[in-house]
Symmetry: C2
């Protein structure tokens, strides 16, 4: 199947300008053009977009993603490099999840803090509460 840039933008939610930017950056090395010079997206590019989205949401930069996509063009010779890359990304994302969970607990503490302050009518009360009055699960996330 073939798609125009507008169709791809519509289907994926990615702005047309972004798709052109990705192309300019060399993310779609094999994308074809019509005789008139109009981009023709194929399932190859749709798949590349899925990979881009995955890597981007793992925190990878456009530049590095581009590098990875170049490896894909090298065939089986680059399998090792590509494997390493995904394992490294996986570790990264696991760390990010842990960090976010820490953040989540701190936010939970603050939610409790403000809920309690509002119930008491003032912040002072909560500030002076002894530690054992703080719910156990968030006690260690006090800011």
């Amino acid at each position: 199947m073939y798609y125009s840039i507008g169709e791809v933008a519509n289907a994926t939610g990615i702005a047309i300008s972004t798709l052109r930017y990705y192309d300019r950056e060399g993310m779609f090395p094999d994308m074809e053009r019509s005789n008139g010079g109009i981009r023709v997206f194929s399932d190859t590019e749709i798949n590349t977009l899925k990979v881009i989205e995955c890597l981007k949401s793992s925190g990878m930069s456009i530049k590095s993603i581009k590098e990875f996509l170049a490896w894909c063009g090298e065939g089986d010779a680059s399998l090792g490099k590509r494997r390493e890359m995904f394992h490294a990304r996986l570790e990264e994302v696991e760390k990010q999840i842990e960090a976010l969970q820490e953040t989540k607990n701190r936010l939970k503490y603050k939610c409790w803090y403000y809920d309690t302050a509002i119930a008491a009518g003032s912040e002072e009360v909560v500030k002076n509460l002894p530690v054992d009055e703080i719910p156990e699960d968030i006690r260690n996330y006090k800011i």
Copy 2:
């Protein structure tokens, strides 16, 4: 306790230039200066830095954090707004964690994909594997 900008930078790992930038942005409205004009950080500012870090790692912009810090200066009158803010942040972070978990599963799929390709000596083999040969836990995360 009082601290110089260098001490704070050292203790927190935040660059001196960043601390000055935060100050310029108005994040430390009550910070004092020595007679000579040198910044004097107190525990108030150290605490503010912890809040900044928490909110920043939840994805909040410096501008919004500054706004929140201004609310803090308004006393109990702004308790409601502050409470809402933290509850909204918490929801946001929960969504981010879910998104990252999705990303993690996609990366796991790719790790399996490349592990299998390398074991087989070629990518072609994995590409043509029937779906039921993909481990169950990642089957739905195929890209």
